[in-house]
């Protein structure tokens, strides 16, 4: 082996350097030199022997990828890139998650202030937190859609039953990962969502000895505390990703082994030709698939970054407090269906049914053995699938706060405009516009569009929960003086004849109280929130997912 020095002597500096770069490129790509890369990018025919196949033999990351695909499966249909996207989201979550881990301590005394530290002291901390959180939700969505597509194209059928089974396990792990992360900020939202869910585990249809210990196993103590947080943290950053990683490789190994299933119409019924790809129908990984994946990586990253920066903000409520139960405990949307079921059926029944459902999904391909993957031959199967989806959507809606037993009307008004958690309409009014005084719903404040808007919302909320203002003869009086009464009885939970006012009072430099006063038959309530000039609730409201 000649040294670089010898080469320089032999061919001169320039030639020697070029040779060196070539050699380096060949090592890094495990087989392609600079010329090969350029020719691949130009789209030329490869030379013989084909250097573009060498990485698949020599490098780890490429050897787990197939060297060519059937051209039919490289279009958007039939995969919609959803399996690839699931993988991408997992990598995305891992990277953003590791960065957040650096600033997080799994302890009840530190976790919550860590979140504020990430927001207020870590450069780009808010962005990373939002990227991780939006990523978690997108991943659930993408994995579910991927499952849907493999069902619709009948890709779960022989020989891919086991691919489907491992996929189901991946779905469950994805849900658990997303949900276990939910607890970590240790705010009210997190604490109560988890408390409610864990209490479900206690109702599992199992021997009493199991039930009485299950909470102990899941949270280390009779109630959620330091031990529980540590456990769920370890689930979230260690156990689940590890298991998910293992199952991912099994899943993907099976996918490559059997080849991507062709669009159903492309094959004879009962045949699986995915692995028999005629030369003319091959699309080589290098460079076509690879370029395409790089493009999708760039595009998805762009969308997620923009989403996390402008459109979607991760919530952070008050510090977790076991003594203060929030008005509405909300499950994340992807588990909302189970809350819906809890409203319909007995807890034990529901908690027992869910694992049963999971198992039946896992084994489904071993029982549903119809030969044809074609849509026309699977009318029944597809109908059942869509019926199931409809049931899930309805259950999800039933589990959401939209569908619930209404609280007392004055509490509903409060929840709509001055809630105990989150910004809400009133707190989102910039501080300098919170002029001290007493206001009535719907009052117009000249030169103060923010407060005027908030009072409009106030009036609307009062209208929803006390009366329809239309046709109320005292409406004008009510607007101008705040003394008029709303009178209506359009619903039986409505306030009868209420008077309500908002009082703003500055009680300290830069600190005001906002007090909603309700007087009605059987109601006499003052509800106070505090608002500091610097609290910056406005900032939250610039995101699309915040309701204010």
């Amino acid at each position: 082996m000649t040294t670089f020095f010898d080469q320089v002597k032999e061919m001169g500096l320039k030639q020697a350097a070029i040779a060196k770069v070539d050699e380096a490129a060949e090592r890094i790509t495990a087989g392609m030199n600079v010329g090969d890369i350029r020719s691949a990018l130009r789209g030329d025919e490869p030379r013989r022997p084909n250097p573009r196949l060498r990485p698949h033999a020599d490098s780890f990351w490429f050897h787990i990828r197939p060297s060519f695909y059937h051209t039919e499966v490289t279009h958007i249909y039939p995969t919609f890139r959803l399996g690839w996207l699931s993988t991408f989201m997992f990598v995305w979550e891992t990277i953003t998650g590791i960065i957040l881990m650096v600033f997080y301590t799994p302890s009840p005394s530190a976790a919550y202030s860590n979140m504020w530290n990430i927001l207020s002291n870590v450069p780009l901390g808010q962005l990373f937190r939002n990227m991780h959180r939006i990523g978690a939700e997108v991943m659930v969505l993408v994995v579910a859609l991927h499952m849907l597509r493999t069902f619709i194209t009948g890709s779960y059928k022989k020989p891919r039953q086991f691919t489907w089974a491992t996929g189901m396990i991946l779905l469950v792990l994805t849900l658990l990962l997303s949900f276990s992360g939910y607890l970590l900020p240790w705010d009210q939202l997190a604490y109560w969502a988890l408390t409610v869910f864990l209490s479900g585990a206690e109702a599992a249809p199992a021997p009493a000895a199991v039930n009485s210990n299950i909470l102990l196993i899941l949270q280390g103590a009779p109630s959620l505390g330091a031990g529980g947080l540590l456990r769920w943290y370890l689930f979230h950053v260690l156990l689940m990703p590890l298991i998910l990683g293992i199952f991912f490789f099994v899943h993907y190994y099976k996918v490559v082994l059997h080849g991507f299933s062709l669009p159903p119409g492309r094959e004879e019924i009962g045949e699986d030709t995915a692995k028999r790809v005629p030369r003319t129908e091959r699309t080589y990984f290098m460079p076509d698939i690879f370029t395409s994946e790089l493009m999708w990586t760039a595009v998805t990253t762009l969308l997620l970054v923009a989403g996390a920066l402008w459109f979607w903000d991760a919530p952070l409520e008050h510090h977790a407090d076991p003594i203060v139960t929030p008005l509405h405990v909300v499950a994340p949307w992807y588990l909302s269906w189970s809350q819906g079921w809890l409203k319909l059926a007995d807890k034990t029944l529901v908690v027992g049914f869910i694992p049963l459902l999971m198992v039946s999904f896992i084994v489904m391909p071993y029982f549903e053995v119809g030969k044809s993957r074609r849509y026309a031959d699977r009318r029944l199967g597809l109908s059942v699938a869509f019926l199931f989806m409809a049931v899930m959507f309805i259950s999800n809606w039933m589990g959401s706060p939209e569908y619930r037993v209404e609280g007392s009307p004055e509490m509903e008004v409060i929840q709509e405009i001055l809630p105990g958690e989150g910004a809400g309409t009133m707190l989102a009014v910039p501080y300098e516009y919170l002029t001290p005084g007493t206001y009535s719903p719907g009052q117009e404040i000249p030169g103060n569009p923010y407060l005027t808007r908030a009072l409009e919302e106030y009036q609307a909320a009062m209208g929803r929960h006390s009366c329809t203002l239309q046709g109320n003869p005292e409406l004008d009086k009510c607007k101008s003086e705040g003394t008029g009464r709303y009178s209506n009885n359009s619903r039986n939970t409505a306030m009868l004849d209420p008077i309500s006012t908002l009082t703003i009072e500055e009680i300290q430099p830069n600190l005001s109280t906002l007090t909603l006063r309700f007087e009605a038959t059987g109601v006499d309530l003052d509800w106070t929130s505090w608002r500091h000039a610097d609290s910056n609730y406005e900032e939250e409201c610039r995101f699309v997912n915040k309701d204010c």
Binding site: L302, D534, N536
Partner: protein, 279 residues
């Protein structure tokens, strides 16, 4: 494939531009969030104060307006917190009086966390067996400190030179017992000493209904007027023997800062004296 390379490159560049934009905005954003964190801490503190402290320190922290849990007016048992002697300057006079080293924030936070031994000021931090988490103690402390204002601290504190002898003092200020009755309530004397007309209504300190008579026997050679005068200005100089819950403790549970608080209105003390001594 060329199209894909172009799209990918554009997307990558846009991402970089967006990240650059975010990075530029970052210092200002961090500043905003730091302030927001403090602001919300004060808000939380306000709620905690209202629920836990206002019964003794008054709804506006001036130890003037106190309610029990049922909403009835009661005498305030605590010191005023919304006051210059606790909040103004780096070393407010309360810290000096109590010989506390360190910062003002520390002083307030630690007092809340640990309470004050020998007084009714409770321990709040869960570390010492109280009901609050540390972040909550931090929140109320932030709220108490937020009462500091230019309006309050801008004015020079009035320092009144209290004469040694009560007679010299009363020579300049003639007392008005009727006005003293109101002051006995607003200075929260009644919170500890109860109602002057009802023996046994006292909760913390001795009943004062007969102090005009027995005050003269406390210290040999000291008149009742002189004794009451000194008891109010310097509670620790002499500890009364009997409090409702056994012997009175030393240091006295009676706030030591009436001399300071009445500096602006010495007339108040004359009125209270007149009430207690029945002149």
């Amino acid at each position: 494939m060329q199209v894909k390379v172009v799209i990918g490159t554009i997307a990558f560049m846009l991402t970089m531009i967006i990240l650059g934009f975010a990075a530029l905005r970052e210092p200002a954003r961090l500043e905003e969030f730091t302030l927001a964190y403090e602001g919300r801490s004060i808000e939380n503190g306000a709620r905690l104060f209202q629920n836990n402290c206002a019964t003794c320190h008054g709804v506006n922290g001036k130890a003037e307006e106190c309610y029990d849990s049922a909403g009835n007016v009661v005498g305030c048992k605590g010191l005023p917190l919304n006051t210059a002697s606790l909040l103004c300057g780096d070393k407010p006079s309360r810290m000096v009086t109590l010989g506390w080293e360190g910062t003002k924030g520390n002083f307030v936070q630690n007092t809340i966390a640990a309470g004050r031994v020998g007084t009714v000021m409770p321990t709040w931090s869960a570390q010492f067996g109280g009901p609050m988490r540390d972040d909550q103690v931090g929140d109320v402390a932030a709220f108490v400190l937020n009462w500091e204002s230019d309006a309050m601290c801008g004015v020079e504190a009035v320092v009144f030179e209290w004469p040694d002898s009560v007679d010299d003092f009363l020579a300049d200020y003639a007392g008005d017992a009727a006005n003293g009755e109101g002051l006995f309530l607003t200075y929260a004397c009644s919170g500890c000493h109860g109602d002057l007309g009802t023996a046994g209504s006292n909760a913390v300190g001795p009943w004062l209904g007969e102090i005009a008579v027995i005050g003269g026997d406390r210290i040999a050679g000291t008149s009742a007027a002189q004794y009451v005068y000194e008891s109010i200005l310097h509670p620790n100089d002499f500890i009364a023997p009997d409090c409702p819950n056994g012997p009175c403790l030393s240091p006295s549970a009676m706030p030591p800062n009436f001399a300071e608080r009445m500096s602006a209105n010495p007339q108040d003390l004359a009125d209270i004296l007149s009430l207690l001594l029945g002149e």
